[in-house]
């Protein structure tokens, strides 16, 4: 038995990392069922940065991508460049950096938990939980800047704990924290409180730490000041209303374990951010964490500041903005598990039920989500872009109707170029156009009217799994 425990403690983390990678990588292009517009924009801009050094708006080596005028941090696109260079522009290469970041997050949670508790069991359990938990799997399978930022943030926190704000590791830690701010907006808000917590606990040279942080953040600050439009995202999401209610919603068990989020692309159907069985261990872990506040104050304070970015935005329970909190919760739950003293038989039963939930999660992730929630993932845009690419050589003009789905980025990503016109299609008006390919829904291109027109040379219906019409392509001679 001792030998088995030794092997687990020595090689367990390797097995966990392999499991984490498999769960994140398997059927990556199939679930979620298609790239959404943000992923597509990140991928296409990475491709342009690789080939031209500029983004889609012609900006040279930008720190922010103008994209849909939402000024996304460009870090994710830069990280994606080597994958596109090696494997081409496709769904897998766009999501692969997130898969790797998610797997590294599991390792960082292991290291962090060990540094916080000096207990291998807590560390290994934390990493096991993070490798299978719904939030961790889902965010690692989508090109979310938030997921990459989480990895940088946890790396920063890890190096700061390791260094106790003394020596070279401090600079590495501060560098990673700053990097997380370059990667996602939410991290810009929590890195300063995070550093203050470390200063409070380790009582280091405040001047040195703050100066170093400011030096690392200087390019970001200057860039944003010189390009005030990069604050667009803050302008569109900022709202300071009911801050206490918003803050506590990130501690509300029903949100964490049962209900999940109303955000359509940030959940796996029927699952909260964590497995429902974890609630008990999370509560026990939190109880012991607070009871032993003096020993655990670093983790406790990090948890307290983690929801801050989400408090000042209008969304209710927005997981992408609080991923560090979820990572800390995994550690708290693992800590709770180590505090429970029950008979081995109960543990077997609990492990069995846990396994049942993991299998269910996998079934929902791989089958249910791509099928039932395809609408949330702009399913059909790829198929439409590919069909347009195939047909466009036969027409001198292409008109695509869709008001909100940012079709241009899908056209660019899937190789259809940028020569389309995006506007509403009115069959009665547009039917007399020459050498034109019209793309739209049934309501804009009614089949009966279209077929009765002698001027057409193509009617092609793009359908989904259930035979529902996604788009109709109508070619005019």
């Amino acid at each position: 038995m001792d030998r088995i425990l030794k092997i687990i403690s020595r090689y367990g983390i390797i097995a966990v990392l392999i499991l984490a990678f498999i769960l994140r990588f398997f059927w990556l292009a199939k679930s979620p069922p298609s790239l959404n517009w943000d992923e597509t924009a990140l991928g296409y801009n990475a491709y342009l940065l690789l080939t031209t050094g500029r983004d889609e708006w012609g900006e040279k080596l930008p720190l922010f991508l103008r994209s849909f005028d939402d000024y996304k941090p460009a870090a994710y696109s830069y990280v994606t460049i080597p994958f596109i260079a090696a494997l081409g522009l496709n769904e897998t290469t766009v999501r692969l950096p997130s898969v790797i970041a998610g797997t590294l997050t599991v390792l960082l949670i292991y290291l962090l938990a060990y540094e916080l508790f000096k207990n291998k069991a807590v560390a290994l359990l934390s990493s096991v939980l993070a490798s299978v938990e719904p939030w961790a799997i889902h965010f690692s399978r989508v090109a979310f800047e938030a997921n990459l930022a989480l990895t940088f943030y946890l790396a920063g926190v890890y190096f700061l704990i390791k260094s106790k704000l003394k020596g070279v590791s401090t600079y590495i830690g501060l560098f990673f924290l700053a990097l997380s701010a370059y990667t996602y907006h939410a991290e810009k808000i929590i890195i300063l409180p995070t550093i203050l917590i470390f200063l409070l606990i380790y009582k280091a040279n405040i001047k040195k730490v703050i100066t170093t942080t400011l030096i690392f953040l200087l390019p970001l600050g200057l860039y944003q000041l010189l390009h005030p439009e990069t604050f667009a995202r803050l302008g569109s999401t900022f709202l300071l209303k009911y801050p206490l209610e918003r803050y506590f919603s990130y501690f509300s068990p029903v949100n964490l374990f049962v209900r999940g989020t109303p955000e359509p692309t940030q959940h796996i159907p029927d699952f909260g951010a964590f497995f429902v069985i974890e609630f008990f261990f999370w509560a026990i872990g939190a109880y012991h964490l607070i009871r032993n506040f003096k020993v655990n104050k670093l983790l406790f304070l990090l948890i307290l500041v983690s929801p801050l970015p989400a408090v000042i935005s209008f969304n209710w329970f927005y997981p992408a903005r609080v991923l560090p909190l979820f990572a800390f919760y995994s550690i708290v739950t693992a800590y709770g598990i180590t505090k429970v003293k029950i008979r081995p038989l109960f543990w077997i039963a609990i492990a069995g039920f846990w396994l049942y939930l993991i299998f269910n999660l996998a079934a929902n992730l791989l089958f249910y989500l791509p099928y039932m929630e395809r609408g949330n993932w702009q399913y059909g845009m790829k198929q439409m872009a590919q069909e347009v690419t195939k047909q466009q050589k036969n027409y001198s003009k292409i008109v695509i109707e869709t008001k909100t789905a940012q079709p241009h980025i899908f056209m660019l990503f899937y190789g259809a170029g940028r020569d389309q016109e995006f506007r509403d299609v009115y069959w009665d008006k547009d039917k007399d156009l020459k050498s034109t390919l019209l793309v739209g829904p049934e309501s804009s291109l009614p089949l009966e009217k279209v077929k009765s027109n002698p001027n057409i040379n193509l009617v092609y219906d793009l359908k989904d799994y259930d035979g529902n019409l996604l788009y109709r392509l109508v070619g005019l001679k």
């Binding site: 009911y242 206490l244 209610e245 506590f248 919603s249 501690f251 509300s252 068990p253 029903v254 949100n255 374990f257 049962v258 209900r259 999940g260 989020t261 109303p262 429902v276 069985i277 609630f279 109880y287 607070i290 009871r291 969304n315 209710w316 329970f317 039920f353 396994l355 049942y356 939930l357 299998f359 269910n360 079934a363 089958f367 249910y368 791509p370 099928y371 039932m372 799994y465 259930d466």
Partner: protein
């Protein structure tokens, strides 16, 4: 403890008699219901791969099994009690509370948001008073028997242990905190209590379902404007007005009938006052409250509501007179 157990059993029986038919959580655990849910998810998962692939039998046996689903449901039901938004601000947090299928109307907040840290603090100061945990676990039992939408009715017994925890939290905090902080905390509490009661007393429609308000207001209008020479038709479209409105009327009124009507399809009766939703006078659609009724009907007044009791039938009660 004994008292709670004594209250518990009749409570469950009473609630079951009242709500058992429509809101029983236990019904969802019936083998037939579980089997249906499982076969539904199997069907969807099979369709998702265009019927080309099916998981091996032993895997299916494990993934789609009734005891596992039942256990997940029970634990979810228990966990769903710990819903800070529902307990403290169901109206403000509707965007997320709606995922639990609970309307913010008719479900008042049960605690102030600032009580949450006090309750949590109380938990950490419990020490030997472990009976409170047991008391809580017993008092939550009725909640486990019914759907969450009955939270206020089924979880009221938990008030005793929760308030005890809060009291412990407050008393421990007072011991450790200086007087200025206590005074500030008290001030915040008083202001928020005042704010709550101000809303409660002056804006009943902000937390009430529209139906009870409309039942009463219809009766008030009739009492005030009754003319024995006219006929009155009160709609039954949004609820049992024939039961609720007479309660407020206080006496029998001649020429008063209760029925749903559709003045687009039927000709208005002569010398009749119609009290109904806008969608019963004109075609149901959005923003009905901004349009006018057809010429044959003279609008005598409107009872303004805040929500649509019936989808696309408008928020207000129109009072229309057909000569």
């Amino acid at each position: 403890m004994f008292l709670i157990i004594l209250i518990l059993i009749p409570t469950i029986f009473f609630l079951n008699k009242l709500y058992g038919k429509n809101f029983s959580f236990l019904k969802t655990l019936k083998p037939a219901n579980l089997a249906f849910e499982i076969s539904e998810s199997q069907r969807i998962n099979f369709l998702s791969v265009e019927r080309k692939f099916i998981l091996p039998y032993p895997v299916r046996l494990f993934v789609y099994n009734e005891p596992g689903l039942a256990l997940a449901k029970i634990i979810s039901q228990f966990t769903s009690f710990f819903d800070i938004e529902q307990l403290t601000a169901p109206d403000k947090t509707y965007e997320i509370v709606k995922l639990s299928g609970i309307s913010p109307k008719g479900n008042l907040m049960l605690f102030y948001i600032w009580e949450i840290p006090l309750i949590i603090y109380g938990i950490f100061k419990l020490r030997e008073k472990d009976y409170i945990t047991k008391l809580f676990l017993i008092s939550i039992i009725p909640f486990l028997f019914f759907e969450k939408k009955l939270l206020a009715q089924t979880a009221f017994l938990t008030i005793v242990p929760i308030l005890t925890l809060e009291a412990i939290g407050i008393s421990e905090l007072i011991k450790k905190t200086n007087k200025k902080l206590i005074a500030t905390g008290l001030l915040i509490a008083v202001v928020s209590v005042f704010g709550f009661y101000k809303t409660l007393l002056t804006k009943p429609l902000s937390y009430q379902s529209p139906q009870p308000y409309l039942f009463r207001e219809i009766a008030r209008w009739i009492v005030k404007n009754y003319d024995p020479n006219k006929n009155y038709v009160v709609t039954t479209k949004f609820g049992p007005t024939e039961i609720m409105t007479p309660y407020y009327l206080g006496r029998n009124y001649q020429n008063l009938t209760f029925e749903s009507f559709d003045l687009r399809q039927e000709s208005p009766r002569a010398n009749t006052v119609y009290l109904g939703l806008a969608g019963e006078f004109v075609k149901p659609s959005r923003n009905l409250d901004k349009i006018d009724p057809p010429g044959a009907i003279e609008i005598l007044g409107k009872i303004e509501g805040e929500d649509e009791p019936v989808f696309e039938y408008g928020k207000n009660i129109w009072i229309g007179y057909s000569k």
